[in-house]
Amino acid sequence: MTTSQRRIAVEEAVAYGLLAAVGGYAFVMAFEYDLLNEGNRVGPGLVPAILGGLIALISGTMLVLTLLGHRARRDHGLAEVAQSVVGDAPVPGGPGDVDADDGSGLDIFGRTAAQRMRQLQMVTVALVVALLLVPLLGLLGSLGLFGLFASIVVERRPWLSSLAITATSIAVVYFVFAVFLEVPLPTGLIGIGG
């Protein structure tokens, strides 16, 4: 098994574990709502209890199977997804040549999988930060900042074109949503994008 396969297996185990926990929690909580109402009628707790129980049961089983190394799903894993996305006409240098299993493939900008993982983390964190800043900068303000960050820092594009593209998209979105559809977008303390 290659490292990447093992990593997927670990991630799967984590996912099943989480699902089992969520299902179990839902199952236990469901008893706080009545399972059955008077006259044996279906109450508010019955459906969640059954669903939670089933989820906990299935994910628990899958978790055990994954941990025991039953690789039932390996024939239909990430590599196949990448393959089917690219289709039958692999482009040289495109992700068709990326071997998702060894994790060293370069994309068209010549970035390695590790770099891309870093990009993903940066974008995700930046998104969270941007949304947390909304009360301060307004929705368009912070999403504009996020756009700049994504283009200049993450994608490493020239700052002038990034600024132009971001400003244009913000302007268009502002016109469509705030002016045309009259959506009261949050403006923030500074009052951007009212």
């Binding site: 279906v42 799903r73 289709g87 993903l120 977008l185």
Partner: protein
């Protein structure tokens, strides 16, 4: 009947009305293209625009907006895998794959053609059969609806592909997410953690934007920027072969869609999911499904549109909205002085037939506008993804905000975006989750009502012939594929044996 329709066309076909219908289609398409904004939100946000007009003009413009925003959602489903509403989730499965293979133009065209054909068929059915269909739909009480929901959930089998357990698991998760919020029957708040925002449950449009739009963006960042798709203009055009191939799918989708759309509730979503499932089962090239089969776009799009029109059967004849969008439209009708109900056709013939005529006109304009534009829209894929994703994220979040005017929606999108990325990474199927999320409340409501009607027992299901029939159908759907494939294998084996016996020339 024909006279009435002519009367309708006479009222509707003025240059002014045509112009506003065109504006409606265009604006509706633009709104629908924004991530997450489908026809329900599209009609709701644009409704005030129509209030300034004469009733007929307002209605024809609304029809334009309705069809336009529906199609706009299809465009994003195909191009960036972001459905505008639950009913177009299925379109992303094959539509997006077609786009990734440079066939976005064909996918968009077949969607437009399929929707158009379905619209014409369903409108004819609406005119001819509205009263008997409405009558029939009334016999679907809680037990029957519960059976229909079971049938719908059984279609998950068609989506899970090789891994039914995982499909089932995701559907269960969707159903469980649907349990969050105030239970409508008893008023008990479940899993709300004292947050007022969770009282109305986890909103599925936001979940969809998150899973599909944001999840896909994150996934693409991780997968690495693919080379932009540079298909020639000619390849973007739909071919005669495409149309011939989709013919059956469109017709089946249309009739199936109409049948489900008449039932109040989740008609459109169920119809599109089931249409896809059926095509996948009857198709000669099953393997292509999920990898860009054109029937996989044609069938659900036709079914969706036919169901949307069939939704008007209960809306117009009974005054009972058949779906979320028709509920909004019902409000619009009331504002324009139309009082849908059993007497509508007798009391306000000019308005009703004008309305039905404007449905026809709206669909014609939609086709005329979008068929030539489909290859043009497809050009957007030439833009490298790295340049596009900040814009997709921007519109997704602002679009989500505009649904309820609250930051809660935006956070839901982000959370489910991250979940969606995880699901894509682990190859967990999303369609069953969305189906579960949409059907969950309806299923539970029908279950609770059935149990109340049966005074605590579900045996009532056995007394109702329709419910029983539907349940048997559901069972067949689960069991049939296995039996069929076994039969097929046997026959193939037999045929192989036979061919071995025939002497070779």
């Amino acid at each position: 009947m024909l006279d009435n329709l002519m009367l309708g066309f006479q009222t509707a076909l003025t240059p002014e009305n045509l112009f506003w219908c065109f504006v409606g289609v265009f604006v509706g398409t633009v709104i629908g293209v924004l991530p997450g904004l489908g026809s329900t939100t599209g009609v709701a946000v644009l409704l005030p625009l129509t209030l300034a007009f004469e009733p007929v003009t307002a209605l024809i413009m609304l029809a334009g907006i309705y069809y336009g925003s529906q199609y706009g959602g299809t465009i994003t489903s195909v191009l960036i895998s972001t459905p505008g509403e639950a009913a177009s989730v299925v379109t992303t499965l094959d539509g997006y794959q077609m786009a990734r293979r440079g066939r976005a133009g064909a996918a968009l065209s077949i969607a437009a053609i399929g929707s158009f054909v379905a619209a014409i068929i369903s409108l004819l059915l609406l005119i001819l059969l509205a009263p008997p269909f409405a009558e029939f739909a009334l016999r679907f009480g809680p037990p029957e609806m519960m059976a229909v929901m079971v049938l719908g959930l059984a279609t998950i089998i068609s989506f899970a592909g090789d891994n039914r357990v995982l499909g089932l698991l995701m559907a269960l998760v969707g159903l469980l997410i649907a349990c969050v919020g105030v239970d409508t029957g008893t008023g008990v708040a479940r899993y709300t953690f004292d947050s007022i925002y969770l009282l109305s449950g986890i909103p599925f449009v936001e979940v969809m934007i998150g899973l599909f739009a944001v999840g896909e963006v994150l996934n693409q960042i991780h997968e690495g920027a693919a080379r932009p798709i540079r298909a020639g203009f000619r390849e973007l055009m739909i071919t005669k072969a495409d149309i011939m191939r989709s013919r059956g799918a469109i017709l089946r989708g249309s009739f199936l869609g109409f049948a489900f759309g008449v039932l109040p509730g989740a008609g459109s979503t169920l119809a599109s999911f089931m249409a896809y499932g059926i095509e996948k089962n009857v198709s000669k090239s099953k393997d292509e499904f999920g990898r860009g089969a054109i029937e996989g776009v044609a069938a659900p799009e036709s079914a969706n549109n036919a169901a949307a029109n069939a939704n008007f059967v209960p809306t117009l004849t009974l005054g009972i909205p058949g779906g979320a969008t028709t509920a909004v439209l019902l409000g619009a009708f009331l504002m324009n002085g139309i009082r849908p109900g059993p007497l509508l056709f007798d009391e306000q013939p000019d308005l009703v037939w004008g309305l039905i005529a404007s449905f026809f006109i709206g669909n014609v304009i939609l086709l005329a506008l979008n068929l030539p534009l489909a290859p043009v829209f497809a050009q957007i894929l030439r833009v490298p993804y790295g340049y596009m994703y900040p814009l997709i994220l921007l519109t997704s979040f602002v679009g989500a905000y505009s649904i309820t005017n609250s930051m809660f929606s935006v956070w839901v999108v982000l959370v489910f975006g991250i979940i969606g990325y995880g699901m894509k990474r682990l190859d967990f199927p999303m369609a069953p989750l969305v189906l579960g999320l949409v059907l969950g409340p309806l299923f539970e409501k029908a279950l609770v009502q059935t149990s109340a009607l049966g005074d605590g027992s579900l045996a009532i299901l056995l007394d109702r012939p329709i419910a029983l029939t539907v349940l048997v159908l559901a069972l067949l759907q689960v069991v049939a594929p296995t039996i069929f494939s076994r039969l097929l294998r046997d026959r193939r084996a037999a045929a192989a044996q036979e061919s071995d016996l025939t002497p070779r020339r």
